[in-house]
């Protein structure tokens, strides 16, 4: 029997914090665990009035029926999730797996590069390549040693692991692009490089491999709403072509990607994002000061479905009270139905 996950949301079974901004959530969704393939992503809504954010599937366990997401608290939603998403709580919405799975192809020697948070989404690909019998070189980059996570997971599926830190506190001192150069100098026969991380990092990686003409795949994570190809918000430029990251990607040929365009488009709602974070931080501060014990941040503005319906019914009934045949007045303006939802 196939189980779908409905009703009470999507239960978070475990959470782990890797640093003060990075955390992982293990979520129960047996069907998605069964369907997920490396390179795919999900769209998450943490609560009913939340926004839809894309997150790459960092791991999946078909036997336990779980998927793992790794999140970095950068905006309002991810910061709020850092506070509210604990083991035992549930996500309001989780849909996926979305996007075209990574093509693991027939590459015999691959380099899997993860920078910062990008370490998480590149993991399923590294594992997938290893399972196909490829020689996998992992290159993980972090700012400093304290931020390192999943080194063991990579060590288990990589034939070689190169750690890079900006400050040299672990592995080589330098960026992942230095790591790639090191790998290329040692292995002239690399078939493919997969690089996932911040746009600047991916750009540096493709510039490193371009002179060597090594196929380089990057995973793009632009702003999305639906994730099914409907809004076009996630469009990215590949040379002269326009592609939708949600349905054509998220993996693309890094040598064709217009990173400048990507970075500009990622700033689309920067002002509003700032407003949201500020407003949320203030709410948190006020709540902490008030110390009334209310643990949840600003509760969702929308109430459950039933009271809304009841209220709407009441309003509609009021409008329609004039009995047939009576000389009733025209309904009052404006129409009140929507006021109910106005919240």
């Amino acid at each position: 029997m196939v189980e779908t996950n409905q009703g009470a949301g999507f239960r978070i079974l475990a959470r782990e914090d890797y640093s003060d901004v990075t955390y992982s959530l293990v979520i129960r969704h047996p069907m998605m665990a069964k369907a997920a393939k490396p390179g795919q992503f999900v769209i998450v809504m943490s609560h009913e009035s939340g926004e839809r954010i894309p997150l790459t599937i960092a791991d999946f366990d078909r036997e336990k029926g779980t998927v793992t997401l790794v999140v970095q608290a950068v905006g309002k939603t991810t910061k709020e999730m850092q506070q509210t998403c604990k083991a035992g709580t549930a996500l309001y919405a989780l849909v996926g797996p979305m996007g075209v799975p990574s093509s693991l192809g027939h590459a015999r020697k691959v380099v899997c590069v993860g920078g910062g948070l990008g370490v998480a989404p590149v993991f399923p690909q590294a594992r997938g390549f290893k399972e196909q019998g490829a020689y996998v070189i992992g290159i993980l980059g972090f700012r400093t040693e304290k931020l390192i996570f999943w080194r063991d997971k990579f060590a288990a599926c990589c034939d070689e692991l190169i750690m890079c830190t900006d400050d040299g506190s672990a592995g080589i001192k330098g960026f992942v692009s230095n790591g790639i150069e090191l790998a290329i100098s040692k292995h002239p026969d690399i078939d493919e490089v997969v690089a996932i991380g911040p746009p600047m990092m991916m750009k540096a990686c493709v510039e490193t491999t371009r002179p060597h003409k090594i196929k380089t795949t990057v995973s793009l994570n632009p702003i999305m709403v639906d994730g099914t190809g409907m809004c076009g918000g996630c469009r990215v430029k590949l040379g002269d072509e326009v592609k939708f990251a949600c349905v054509d990607g998220p993996d693309f040929d890094g040598h064709k990607v217009d990173f400048g365009d990507l970075m500009t488009r990622l700033r689309r709602y920067a002002d509003k994002e700032k407003t949201a974070v500020q407003r949320w931080s203030e709410t948190c501060r006020m709540r902490d000061q008030a110390a009334f014990g209310a643990r949840d941040p600003a509760p969702p503005a929308a109430s459950s479905e039933t009271p809304e319906l009841d209220l709407a019914r009441a309003k509609m009934r009021a409008r329609r009270q004039a009995p047939p045949g009576a000389t009733g007045q025209l309904p009052e303006l404006p129409d009140p139905i929507d006021d109910v939802l106005g919240g």
Binding site: T228, G229, L309, R313
Partner: protein, 460 residues
């Protein structure tokens, strides 16, 4: 019964629909058309001749017994009217609001030959709203036939199919990728035309018929149609994924920030409630001057949403003239009343960069109408040397959508211009014509039962 009605004895004027005044409504998202009250409905019902030809039934894609329900309204038997309607259509509050009646039932109404046709849509909405207000639900006696039907997409096609399948006795599960059911009714049509609460109420009725809605489920990725048939026990699958893929024009500057599809604007505003930002987390900042390209119903919705979100100036840029404009006349009229500025016979050629990734303006070219094209409308051709620049900060493209790209994409029927909302021969269709539809696998035939349900096959 009073003496026979004739075209001379019925009220000559269509009963006007009470509306919010334009200057008021442009500041809120409440419904523009407020709906008939009982008295207005009674009056309008007297305009139906109850003619023996009943062309309206033929004009309705689902064949609603239109004279039947109008007669009941006339008898002040609103419950009876609801029963007559729901014999064929379980979603009157939605259809009464958003069906293009002027191309369907009202377009062929006998009264319409000499006067304005009977306001069938408004009467249908009246009955639907009354039912919601009174909490009426018609749950017909359903004899389970043990067939199980899966429906992909909870938009108009999906819910209409769900209703019919449930009434036929099937076990019905509707899958929706978004977090709430309704499809385009929910993400596309703004609250001022179709309030979400009406959709919820109608969906609720389907639940009472036993239809299950499973949201957050992306069929094709989470599981395939083949899996539905082979592993999940479905006897048939209906694919109603709609036309959601936005067209972008491919002109210079169309990937600038500040250029978006009407789908994105409407989804952010309607489904994600950006109009209530920051109480809801999804933003949709609207700049001062907005140009919406296109003149269909989606374009009208997009323009009117922009006005309500605070745009100072909203331009409609359309390459043909007003005569060819595909939007319903009522919608164009509403947009005009609210202050949208129409620029007919104008086409964008380039979106101008403000140097920081945003939009500073748009270069357009004047058009003139040439010979008719394959759609029968006169083809717009550019007038050489007629370029002009307009200053704007936001561009919204509402120039059409194509079938949603999914595993089912090749199975969706559309007209030659890829408009699924206007199949060419509406009156011939028995499935809801406003929607794309395809049935795959073994369609259940409850009456003859040539096949055993999947459950029985497995047991055998």
């Amino acid at each position: 019964m009073a003496k026979k009605r004739t075209i001379r004895t019925i009220p000559q004027q269509r009963t006007p629909m009470p509306e919010q005044p334009a200057h008021e409504r442009v500041k809120n998202f409440a419904e523009v058309a407020c709906g008939f009250g009982a008295e207005e409905a009674l009056r309008e019902s007297q305009r139906c001749l109850l003619c023996p030809e009943q062309p309206c039934i033929e004009g309705c894609p689902v064949g609603v017994d239109i004279p039947g329900f109008i007669r009941k309204i006339g008898e002040k038997d609103f419950r009876g009217a609801y029963d007559a309607l729901t014999g064929t259509n379980l979603l009157p509050a939605i259809c009464g609001r958003v069906c293009p009646q002027e191309n369907q039932c009202e377009g062929v109404c006998t009264v319409g030959d000499s006067l304005e046709p009977v306001a069938i849509g408004r009467l249908e909405r009246f009955v639907g709203d009354t039912a919601i207000a009174e909490g009426w639900v018609n749950v017909p006696y359903i004899e389970p036939n043990r067939f199980k039907v899966g429906i992909v997409g909870s938009g108009p096609a999906g819910v209409a199919c769900a209703a019919d399948m449930a009434k036929a006795g099937c076990e019905v599960v509707v899958y929706e990728a978004f977090h709430r059911p309704g499809g385009v009714l929910c993400y596309g049509i703004p609250d001022f035309r179709l309030p979400n609460v009406v959709i919820d109420a109608e969906i609720d009725k389907l639940r009472k018929l036993g239809v299950k809605f499973e949201c957050n489920t992306l069929v094709g990725r989470l599981f395939t149609i083949e899996q539905m048939v082979e592993e999940m026990g479905f006897d048939a699958v209906f694919v109603g994924t709609g036309a959601g893929y936005p067209t972008l024009p491919g002109i210079p500057g169309d990937s600038l920030n500040g250029v978006l599809s009407a789908n994105e604007l409407l989804t952010r505003c309607n489904l994600m409630r950006a109009k209530e930002f920051p109480n809801f987390d999804t933003p949709m900042p609207i700049e001062k001057r907005v140009a919406v390209i296109g003149a269909g119903n989606t374009a009208m919705d997009a323009m009117r949403v922009c006005l309500r979100l605070g745009a100072e100036k909203v331009y409609c840029i359309y390459r043909r003239s007003r005569t060819e404009c595909p939007a319903r006349a009522e919608e164009v009229h509403h947009a005009e009343e609210e202050g949208v500025e129409f620029h007919w016979l104008t086409n964008p050629v380039e979106i101008l960069d403000d140097g920081a990734g945003g939009v500073r303006g748009m270069r357009c070219i004047r058009m003139e109408l040439g010979e008719p094209d394959e759609s029968g409308r006169r083809r717009p051709v550019p007038v050489p040397g007629s370029e002009l620049d307009i200053e704007i900060d936001l561009v919204v493209f509402a120039i059409g959508t194509t079938p949603t790209r999914s595993s089912a994409r090749r199975r969706i029927s559309s007209s030659t211009s890829a408009a699924t909302s206007r199949p060419t021969r509406i009156s011939r269709l028995r499935w809801p014509a406003s929607t794309p539809a395809a049935i795959s696998s073994r369609a259940p035939r409850p009456s003859s039962r040539p096949w055993a349900p999947a459950a029985e096959r497995r047991a055998a």
